[in-house]
Amino acid sequence: MKEQSLFIEASIIDDFFESNDQNSLIYKNHKNKKQDCNYSILKNKNQHTLELRNKKQTLVSLPYHRENFLFIYNHLKDKIKSSEDSLSKMIEKAEKSLRYKSLVDQSFNSLLFKIKTRNLQELVRNLLKEKQFHKFESSFIFFHLKGKKNAKLLGVTWKDQSYDENLNVTHFNLFFNSVKKSKIKAFNAASFSFLKLPFNGSFLAKEIQFKTCKTTIILSRNDFLYFNSYEIKRFESCVTLLTPFIENLINSEFIQNKNKVLESAFTLYPLPLQMMDRHGFYDISNKRASLLNDFSETKTLKKVYLPFSKELTLYDCEELRISSFDLFHFQRIHLLGELLNTLKHELSNPLLGLNLACRLLKEESLQDDDKDLLKNIEQNITHCQNIIDNFANLYSSDDSQSTCDIKVAIQEALTLSKSELQGIEVKKIYEKKTGEFLILSKNIVVVQILFNLIINASHSLREQQNLKNKIHIYTQESDEYYEVYVSDNGAGVDEKLQEKIFTPFFTTKHQGTGLGLSLSKSLAKKIGGDLRLTESSIFPQGATFVASFPKTPS
């Protein structure tokens, strides 16, 4: 009972290493009450050292490594347990291992190396590379985490092939118990035929039981010879040495899986996040599509801390309440993009077939009206293809710069919104009667912006039930910009709402996404222009939006 304070859980070691404070761990020897036997491990991050000291002086200083810490710690523990060795002997050992690292027992040294392996597969693989096990051909770790449906058999079969299989838990328990009961730890694969083990003949196995996990380590030569006592002893001592690392690895594997699920959840989170795992920060916001940046630029990036080692807690920043409502909308947009892509591919093929067939028929000797009919069919096919392409392009991430004519873009936007514009009088007024209105941007971006504006106008007109619904589209030229005004004679935008309409997810419509205007605005800004609400002399009551686009340098 007296030694209780010495049993440090692996988590404390982790805390010790990952925390940033200059704290130290202090151990007291309860059996020996003399002062000089109270010592502490001091972490000195600036000089990258770990110091072992008693009250008076620093006894030994080692490089700042987890292994070194474990080394000191283990010896400290042994030392206090037995309380027979003097402290000086322990220090001597520590120094020896440091100075003569190459001379220290080979297996111990390489085991230290293995601590660095990050997963179980690597661990068993390295076990086979070990000199003392060079005769063995396959090694496995067979474990079951509490609460999991399956037990796992991981390892290397002969010919160096990786093996990873889920097995029945009852079978695992049978195996584990018989390994536990056995004294010599040598078995024959034939007696576990129910497991269908991926190796033959006799094998060595040792069980380790952790709080959350039952584990067996298996080594096999794939032959039917008996093992000598020397081999068995070495195997057992090696597994014992490895025990703490195996536990760590299993735990970390478990946490890794958990993290993967969490990560995917956070990658889809609609607002910028920053994650912190045990090893530091990393930003996941850049993983998410640039789409996100487009409509969240008004919001500053807030850090969300996520301590993975403990229970999942998400600290939301105060002014940015993220509601499930936003999440829902983000998912809708995401889905829409995918849907459009699928549609494009599914429709392109039949349309191409139709197009080719039309071509063929046109070459037949047909009557004139039949030829006309075919021509119409062909036109419609091209039209369909264009619509599909245009919609799909909205979501493509091609950033190449090009020039575009506003006149063409307006016409295209009007074609796209044809169905929405039924019963609405649309008037286009160009400032310049002739010539082109060239701007530096992709056609599709401009079309998207104008399309959104036209659709919005048509929706507000529809609500009105006015008989003389009108939309005017007119252009103005300034030194650097072409401006396109989209004006309607609807009800206009309520003064209270004027500030909000460009915010993402804000909508006044029942079925709106609230993204149209915010998306358009960020698109316009992306190409160096802008989108504003303005007033117009033509329809003072209605709403007028003006989109400005930078001219091409002449």
Binding site: S348, N349, P350, L351, L352, N355, L356, A357, R359, Q385
Partner: protein, 119 residues
């Protein structure tokens, strides 16, 4: 006269291409199944093989891989023409790793497409 094989599961495209090419006095075989296509390649000698990437049974790349057994890779890059509506970067990279001609669907200019095929 050239011997041409068309492997395409969209029946309209298959038939029309076949007709267009036959009119130019080429011998054209066609199938909508990739596996059947492989059989045909094994049993016949074709000058040009036009193959869709997304077939219903197997992918166009599978057809190419199977043809490797009887053709050299230079022969493959000479004979095969890949048609695809999925012009993602991945697909294009894979196609160019075989040094193949690629036709992106939809064809914007059919006459030109035919010229590419017959080149």
């Amino acid at each position: 006269m050239k011997k041409i094989l068309i492997i395409e599961d969209e029946i309209l495209i298959q038939k029309s291409l076949k007709k267009i090419l036959s009119r130019k006095n080429h011998h054209v075989d066609s199938t909508s199944s990739g596996k059947k296509g492989i059989d045909l390649i094994y049993t016949n000698h074709y000058d040009i093989i036009i193959c869709d990437l997304m077939l219903q049974d197997i992918s166009g790349f599978d057809v190419i891989e199977s043809s490797k057994k009887i053709m050299s890779s230079s022969e493959i890059s000479k004979k095969f023409i890949i048609m695809t509506a999925y012009s993602s970067e991945q697909v294009i990279n894979k196609v160019s790793s075989y040094h193949l001609t690629i036709l992106k669907k939809p064809f914007h200019d059919i006459v030109e497409t035919i010229n590419i095929i017959l080149k």
